[in-house]
Subunit: 233 residues, 2 copies
DNA sequence: CGATTCCTTGATCAGTATCAAGGGCGGTGG
DNA sequence: CCACCGCCCTTGATACTGATCAAGGAATCG
């Protein structure tokens, strides 16, 4: 059984706000699971057997085409919810981008529990609505932005989300962070090839907007100019 | 006051399943509204003051960039739900693609009502989850498909959705339909220019997969080949 | 019937993909 | 600690898809 009281995402995941008694019941249904980088938790097209809360790490949601083309359609961080409640099958795979820890529930038990707890469903609804808004912003990016605008948009959003999910108490924006993705995966998020991603990053670096101390690190040096480039919507 | 009993989307919109008494309360909150083609119901960035059910017609959800680039991020049909419950502002505009009729509720009253009716929130959650799945499929299309694949995907999905929303009792697929969008709007859905849309349609026509009896009509002549082209996912 | 708007088609251009090669970083084993 | 190997990333050359610019034609509306 899980010790929810001490869970680091206790106050931010959908479990927040449940009574001790409810949490007790819910915790009986779930279990913590480690997922190592590259490991896939759910396959595209699989029956939707589980849902989960992310406790630690970053995971991607991906869809792929028969010929191998791939699109990353979501990136989830600690306290985010994974899976498709009340659904028959998963439309996308879920794969760890970093070593991760998740709190997994069998979907059907979770569904039943949720149906009995309107507050939980309400939180789930709010999250899903926000995720939908985010997906739609992402659609604008994919459909209408240029390669450099896409990169700028991605770096800014990723920085923000890493910041938010990290329980940082500080209000000041962190401008250095580790990329949870390699160049290919950045391409899969943005609808670009690895070469284009690399070239655009180099360009942003030479223009002084960012710095790239090593392959996995980014420093935002001129946030304002980067935001302009992202065509801040 | 609305006469919900006779509403054509009564059994498919989120109101389905409410008791007569509940429906009575809800109907007091809402009113029917006509929206003519081209008219905008909600502007991007506006405070989210209203939500609605679509009764008749087709509407688009759009996001635009400062320089005028635009992306259509959703298309809604009869029985679909519009608006952002429990949210501060609308991330996108809502504009009628055809003359339409909607059942509008002030967002705050709707929110309050929904909070008191878990079944309604549950339906809203299911719809939102489906919409999110759809948006993610759309992301794959925008990020990774070629122009002709995009057009094929769009025509097939549009045909299906017009079919579903039309209360057609027949199971056999309808292969002729009216486009609710002009060429520019098709481009705004697919992340293409109007010229590319036009050229690709011409190409599909000459290859015999579709016919275009007039600017607004499409006949799917070879569904299988079109599905192959769409890279059926 | 004329005017306007929407659509198609053609010519050219630009941005990104593709193909190809080389370099740097990290990990492993000596 | 160093040398080697493999992977990831960068860079260059070229190709190609779709965008842009431009013009003409067809449908729609007053």
């Amino acid at each position: 059984m899980n010790n929810c009281e001490q869970c680091v995402v206790r106050n931010r995941a959908i479990c927040a706000g449940l009574t001790a008694a409810e949490l007790d019941v819910l915790s009986q249904l779930g279990r913590k699971q480690q997922v190592s980088r590259g490991q896939t938790l759910v396959w595209e097209g699989d029956e939707a057997l589980l849902v989960a809360n992310v406790i630690k790490g970053v995971l991607k949601l991906g869809i792929s085409m028969p010929d191998g083309r791939e699109q990353i359609v979501g990136v989830v961080f600690p306290s985010d919810f994974i899976g498709r409640p009340f659904g028959q099958q998963s439309e996308h795979s879920v794969t760890a981008l970093t070593d991760a820890e998740v709190c997994v529930f069998p979907r059907k038990s979770f569904d039943d529990f949720a149906r009995l707890h309107p507050d939980l469903e309400h939180k789930l609804l709010q999250r899903t609505l926000s995720e939908l808004d985010r997906a739609r912003g992402w659609m604008l990016m994919l459909g209408r932005k240029t390669a450099s605008e896409k990169i700028a948009t991605f770096l800014l959003e990723l920085g923000d989300r890493l910041n938010d999910s990290g329980c940082q108490q500080s209000d000041n924006v962190i401008s250095r962070f580790e990329l949870p993705v390699d160049r290919q995966q950045m391409g899969d998020v943005l609808g670009l090839t690895i070469e284009t991603v690399s070239r655009q990053l180099t360009k942003l670096k030479s223009s002084g907007m960012i710095d790239l101390p090593d392959r996995r690190s980014v420093i935002i040096k001129d946030r304002e100019r980067l935001q302009n480039l992202a065509s801040a919507c």
